[in-house]
Subunit: 487 residues, 2 copies
């Protein structure tokens, strides 16, 4: 497939605008709106028959904080300095992190909340302080990651940063996208559905000058005076790419995304000289809660060893599960705390009146599970987890017979997976070449770009949609000729 | 930096040949020799002042087998079918593997041994059956990977495949390169040193037509009628690239390679439309032997848990060490088996007359190390390792006081690291685009390409140099117009 067309060869453009935005999910919608508000003429193309992207499929928790706190955090008396937010993100992604991108994000995220609320999205001033993937209480603020878990709780003050549209439950993305779509339409962005960007038009000096749009089998050339913004999602639905880039997950993944996550934006960007980074990393989630009481259980591997503090976020559990031999992990739990997880089909593989019975029935070498449980119980009784530092809030001896061992092995769970690799960009969305030069006229945001979240081990719910919408806005403004950020 | 020059803009070429080869290490030397032997005119450019590359820095163990056995294996009575070899490689790299490349390799590796021997490299018909990184006995065949370790020993019949030039010790690479250089010179390849390929010349249809060579600050254009073969090494010496692609290793690595491993070949290939894959993977080695007796010790993590069978190859230990919390690992060993490893500076952090004393001195939670050692000893006495399946040959209770705990943590060891990512190529060396199309006229081999070894967890000594020389030859032949392989 020819993805790059020489500008000099094109005699006629079917349309002309200032900014072309490819993809009408959260990133593309925000990019288009900001470019338009900055005074540019904008054409927005979406390959599906309607807007939404993966943002609409999500609960649209946005992971926001900093600047002393978002308006929502502050009104609930929660303080969150930008430095505290930054320390948390550094703990999440370590050497994988992009420092410049994180700096801009922690300084701008509080303002972003106001911007989203001003779109017309309602956020109730109430905190859900429990442990759940998505609060179903109507509360609009919650903990969504590893904030209260070791070692994160030692590196940054734990604060809730998941900002959730009120009363929307798992459908927050539909609420946010409806508000965004209304604003994009009202602003006068020219929107076309069933229209897929299949090529970029680049001049001999390397500047992207426009795009080729395919609709109903017909290709049209669009000249973009200011630039093209690629917000075409990740690549979890492109099996050739997942086999190549995330082979360790390809066979066990439940592909989590929208059908447009075909990697087209990344491939277009690469063809124009962009650099794909972080391509081997992906979110892999094992939703071991709710109900929260399951956090009292302990996870063991095939050796009967614990390997993680069980109060971590579900993507961190996924990360560590992937490292255990044959990706086999189990929860050991007693009758007092036993429950079925809400979002997983788990299988009980052994039950017994004693730990020894469970150990034997599950086929663990004699003494392994017994020693692990005895050691855990001995310390849990003292409110201590010397090995993995699970919070005292979730520590209690597992002593109420009968006991159960439940498989959470990856091959059984088939966890949701989505990609965290994409084009290397500046915080402004400007696409970089492998040598760090800007590809002029080309921008990317959302999961077409490598964003804030870089590994499953530090992921928190709401990071993707916060990153996509926040940096979508910056890309739209920069494409429209806005001032370069001082970084 | 402008890496691609438009063929149509070049009015004058300073030189013309059939095949340009970039880099005179093992891969480039083999590519040049085969292209020349196939009847092509060949120009070989090397950025250093002499030949060698990383191959010359290595012991030049070549990891070979299949076809019933190489000549050396067969003469020692060792049988190694291609299927057995393939099963082993599949166990090594799992979903990361390139099936087509492995198939060609296991079927052709035995012939490759004959080819290398015919260069004038001497291999003594004797087997070193011990456990060492490089046999220093003059023997020319040895086990160099995980062949005899679980789970590999259950998936393929263990056979030694490390083919080592006799009496060369760690200097086998100098021996092999000297033989190769003599043949390349005798064949009439035009060799130029201090000459670095800084650009590719590509026509508007995408065909690579030549290269730009820089020597003493002067750039010359070279037209290549048949093709350009990039054998310019990996990118371990390019800190901007290692920060981006292997951030998890960047801070702790001892960079293992030659100064030319700057990633230039990968960057040139990307600029021409090639696809970088496996870029996040690297070899990370913790040489926990020789002396082999250290294999009787056990490795524990900061939780006092074992996490690996200690009879694995050093790169598999590195892989698992990287996964332990804070990358802290320790060897527990008794007085009977204690020794200092030959290739590492290790630090004893605790000694004691009892395991309990060591546990306390090292600051492990009470009972952790004691339980681990007691469990291990109980089963080792029976010749069994039910948790990690270390071979019975290395199982003995650790009971001879005093006992020691020795740090092998990554931050202390600073392990050697080199990169395993590169351009995606066909087994013929033809460079592929992200969509799987061939970039005509462009070839890659050695660590400029993604090769047989794809992850540290399955690496064996000799895989890189075998891959580089074997696929260097195929790339040279294909560039010279040889028939496409039937794959």
């Amino acid at each position: 497939m020819q993805r790059i067309h020489a500008y000099e060869d094109i005699e006629h453009f079917d349309a002309t605008t200032d900014v072309v935005v490819a993809g009408f999910g959260g990133a593309g919608g925000c990019a288009a709106l900001e470019a338009k508000r900055a005074g540019s003429e904008v054409m927005l193309f979406e390959s599906a028959s309607g807007p939404g992207g993966s943002t609409a499929l999500s609960a649209c928790e946005m992971y926001l904080g900093g600047s002393g706190g978002t308006r929502l955090q502050k009104e609930l008396g929660i303080e969150d300095s930008s430095e505290n937010f930054l320390r948390y993100l550094e703990a999440c992604f370590g050497p994988y992190a992009d420092p410049a991108r994180m700096r801009v994000f922690v300084d701008g995220a509080a303002e972003h909340f106001d911007w989203v609320e001003a779109l017309g999205v309602r956020y109730r001033r109430s905190l859900f302080s429990g442990r759940d993937v998505v609060a179903l209480t109507g509360d609009s603020l919650q903990y969504t990651g590893n904030e209260r878990a070791y070692p994160f709780n030692e590196k940054a003050t734990p604060v809730p940063r998941g900002h959730l549209p009120t009363d929307a439950g798992h459908d927050g993305g539909k609420v946010v996208m409806a508000a965004l779509v209304a604003q994009v339409e009202a602003a006068g962005v020219a929107i076309e559905y069933d229209a897929r960007i299949v090529g970029l038009i680049q001049d001999r000096a390397g500047r992207v000058r426009g795009a080729v749009v395919r609709n109903a089998g017909r290709d049209r050339t669009v000249y973009a005076r200011q630039g093209v913004v690629l917000c075409m999602g990740g690549f979890i639905m492109n099996e050739a790419m997942t086999r190549k880039y995330i082979p360790q997950l390809d066979a066990i993944a439940t592909r989590h995304g929208n059908p447009g996550d075909r990697g087209d934006g990344i491939l277009l960007g690469m063809a124009a000289g962009g650099n794909p980074i972080n391509m081997g990393e992906a979110f892999v989630g094992i939703a071991h809660y709710p109900p929260a009481q399951l956090t009292y259980g302990i996870f063991v591997n095939a050796q009967g060893q614990r390997f993680v503090n069980e109060d971590v976020y579900l993507a961190r559990l996924g990360h560590f599960a992937l490292q255990q031999s044959e990706q086999r992990i189990y929860m050991f739990i007693d009758n007092r705390y036993f429950a079925r997880p809400d979002y997983l089909n788990t299988e009980i593989i052994a039950v017994g009146e004693t730990v020894a019975e469970v150990e034997t029935e599950a086929g663990f070498p004699e003494g392994t599970l017994q020693e692990t449980v005895a050691f855990y119980n001995r310390h849990a009784a003292l409110g201590d987890d010397p090995l993995f530092h699970k919070s005292a809030a979730w520590l209690a001896p597992l002593v109420s017979a009968p006991f159960a061992l439940v498989s959470y092995s990856l091959a059984d769970i088939r966890p949701p997976v989505f990609t965290l690799g994409g084009l290397e960009v500046l915080p402004t969305g400007e696409v970089l070449s492998p040598e760090g030069d800007i590809v002029p006229g080309l921008f990317a945001a959302g999961r077409t770009a490598a964003g804030i979240p870089r590994t499953s081990q530090g992921y928190a719910s709401g990071m993707s949609v916060a990153d996509a919408t926040f940096f979508g806005r910056l890309a739209g403004r920069r494409a429209a000729g806005g001032n370069r950020l001082t970084l």
